[in-house]
């Protein structure tokens, strides 16, 4: 009896509900164009908005001394490719460029430092993001294609060894342990955490690392194993540091490494492993990276600028803007910005078209910001 009544009332109600809902639908469709702002308002109202990959902040702008007047007139395309570690910085810069010089068409790809240099030296892209200095072979390739380049350090990074947030044991590893874990001989031998350190659990150890084209991989192997590119091969590799971070965050037995900015972005789900290079355990932080105590995994990040293309206004304008906002972009991306003097030196080098690498063919381990400045200053002299 009661059910029948409810059915009846439902039947009566349905058209009413339909009538209420239908007329509103077109209105919602009509607000399509304003949807972005609508959603943003809702997001602000949301109680627990999650960490956005790159938070909305005041837009990066060049300093007041920067002459913006001609920027809008510049037309042309800029193609950038290379390291995923440097990508966040360049992306921020690209945003600035797009807003200040809307007629510059920025193309930004990620192919790893090695992949980026391949495209760069072949003239396919005008700017290469690099998480390590150019290698001799790559220099040769560039020379082959007549691509002279200017090497510009833009930020300081610390390669961060990370584990799953729920990993309670691996809070600190010595350099030797990292070597034990990653050297080519470890393959098939070091399979569990207890193989790294005896009092760690006997759970299997899962390795994640940037791919072979990655400058980070090169730097890490040189710093830990001693030989660039020398590492066991049974790890899960990707040029996409986001994927690495997400995988490690989902695997309690995982250990991996990548640029500090990616750790920073996923720091709620990852735990950094302090590195003991003989002076005690040091966790990667902006301070430890900036003051050189996070050794030997701290390193500079670069962009390489093709000198033949620098004559084009779009490239010149892009580089000019990049250099003027690099400090802020580096910080905002999650790296340690270089001292202002370094960016001044960079500008000078670009202006003078000072080509070539300061690093004598490859990664140098344990270079501090001071040493970097010394090198740059030296080249100036």
């Amino acid at each position: 009896m009661k059910n029948t009544l409810i059915h009846c009332s439902l039947l009566l109600l349905l058209p009413a509900i339909a009538g209420c809902v239908e007329p509103r639908a077109p209105g919602l469709h009509g607000t399509d164009g304003a949807d972005g702002t609508d959603s943003a308002e809702v997001a602000k109202a949301g109680p627990n908005a999650p960490a956005v990959p790159t938070p909305e902040e005041a837009p990066l702008e060049p300093g007041p001394e920067f002459d913006r007047t001609a920027l809008g007139e510049i037309r042309g395309a800029v193609r950038v490719d290379g390291s995923s570690t440097v990508f966040p910085i360049t992306e921020l810069v690209a945003g600035v460029v797009e807003s200040l010089a809307p007629n510059i068409d920025v193309g930004l790809g990620v192919s790893g430092t090695g992949g980026g240099f391949q495209k760069f030296c072949r003239g396919e892209v005008q700017i290469a993001n690099a998480s390590r200095p150019i290698k001799a072979a790559e220099e040769a390739l560039c020379a082959e294609h007549g691509v002279d380049f200017i090497e510009v350090p833009v930020a300081f990074d610390g390669v961060s060894v990370v584990v799953h947030a729920d990993n309670p044991w691996a809070s600190c590893m010595t350099l030797a342990e990292l070597k034990t874990l990653w050297r080519p001989e470890a393959e098939g031998r070091v399979e569990s955490w207890s193989d790294v350190r005896h009092d760690w659990p006997g759970r299997p150890i899962k390795l994640y690392a940037p791919g072979q084209d990655s400058g980070t991989f090169d730097y890490f192997t040189r710093a830990v194993v001693g030989r660039e590119g020398a590492a066991r091969s049974d790890f899960i590799g990707s040029e996409d540091d986001y994927l690495l971070a997400q995988d490690i965050a989902a695997d309690a037995d995982a250990v991996g490494f990548f640029g500090f900015a990616y750790y920073r972005e996923y720091r709620s789900r990852l735990r950094p492993v302090a590195v003991d290079a003989g002076a005690g355990c040091v966790e990667p932080t902006l301070e430890s990276i900036g003051d050189g105590s996070y050794r030997p995994l701290s390193r500079p990040l670069f962009i390489y600028i093709s000198v033949p293309d620098l004559g084009r206004p779009a490239i010149a304008g892009f580089v000019e803007l990049y250099l003027s906002v690099a400090s802020g972009a580096a910080e905002r991306a999650g790296y340690v910005a270089l001292p202002p003097r370094a960016y001044d030196l960079n500008r000078t080098r670009v202006a003078r078209r000072e080509t070539g690498s300061l690093w004598a063919g490859g990664s140098q381990v344990g270079v501090s910001i001071e040493r970097l400045l010394e090198l740059e200053s030296g080249s100036e002299r």
């Binding site: 972005g36 959603s39 997001a43 627990n48 995923s84 992306e91 192919s111 084209d213």
Partner: protein, 464 residues
Amino acid sequence: MKRPRLSIRQQLLGAFGIDLILMGLLGGLALVNMSLMAGKADQVQRYSIPSLQNVGRIHDQVERYRTLQLEFMVHRNRADRDRLVHMMGEVESSVADGLERQRRLIADDELRTHTLQEVDDALDAFDSLWATYVRANRTQFLPAVRRSSGGSVQPAWSRLNPLVNELFDAVERLAQLDEESTRDAMAVVSGTHRSSRLFILGDTAVSLLLSACVGLLLAARLAGRIGDLSRATRRVADGDLDQHVPISGGDELSQLAVHFNDMVASLRHQHQTLEQRNDELEASLEEQRRLTEDLVRREQAEAAASQAQAEAEARDSAKSAFLATMSHELRTPLNAILGFVQVMRLEATHRGEERHLGDLGRIEAAGKHLLTVINNVLDFSKIEQGRMDLEVLDFRVGDLVREVVGIVEPLADERRNRLVLDMADGGPGAMRSDPGKLRQILFNLLANAVKFTDSRLRRRRPAR
């Protein structure tokens, strides 16, 4: 145990009432449970199912959005990308519609519970994540892909993975909450069903047991008490009037027992009265028998007496008859004698032979006297026979007296007595009586007086 003062009907009604209450409880619980189940079914029908469908649609739309992002990366053609952005807009409004519909469902749901509050929160969480995702798509993903120059990896895509995962988790959470609420509702329904079944079975069993117990107890007690009464009745029927049925409670049987006891008491009393009456009757009968015997005896005596009397009377009568006959037989010759004396006297007078006249007079007088005697005897016999005849006549007293004196004078002379009649010539007059009887009386008196008197003078003066 103190038995309640309740009548059998009240006890039966009480048992019936308890059964009714139990059945009422049963009905009430069944109603409550059924409405509870109906409510839950209603909730599932009105909220859970549409909600699950809606959440499913939202999930599909989010997936579609992600796919559109992928297509946006693949298609480098500007027209394709514009089309994809438009389709993203459609998905966004579709999700907004879904959210609106979901909020309406929650708001419409009158069975709003804390679980639905959780649904509300989950919906808010999804809403906020979705807004973030859409914003990230518009402000980061689309520009990043647009400026992407075709590197080997796509950070803009993978960068959104956590957000997308959270988004799907939020949708899953919504679906999970709906499933939980559905499961809870079903659990409530099945639990209610189970408890209802248990209660119905239990209640029925209790009702049956109670009814059976009450019925059996009542029946046993009634049977026992009726048995007591029956036995007592039989004993009373057998004559034992000292029976007393114990009285307990206040029901009809107790009243019956009371009445039975009263009846027995009354019987006893009547019995005693009857016995007393019987004794009295017996005494009376004895008396009557005795009286009868007396009567018989008396009657016999009376009969004997009567017979004796009859005999005596017969004898008397015979004697009287004899006397009468005799007198009559005597009188007839005597009358003849007298007649002849008279005739002789007349002849003597006539012839003047005086000397014979005296003697003839004496013979006549003596004859007359004899006749009188005989008449007297006759009278006696008549008296004895009850047939005394009186001959009432008007006659002159002087004549009668002179006649009697004439008769007695010779007797007085014989005895030398002198009889003097002192009477006026006329005499006292006439009187009305039986002259024969009177004459006889006078004669007897005078004769006796002459007979027993010697040489004396008696003067007879008749009284008036």
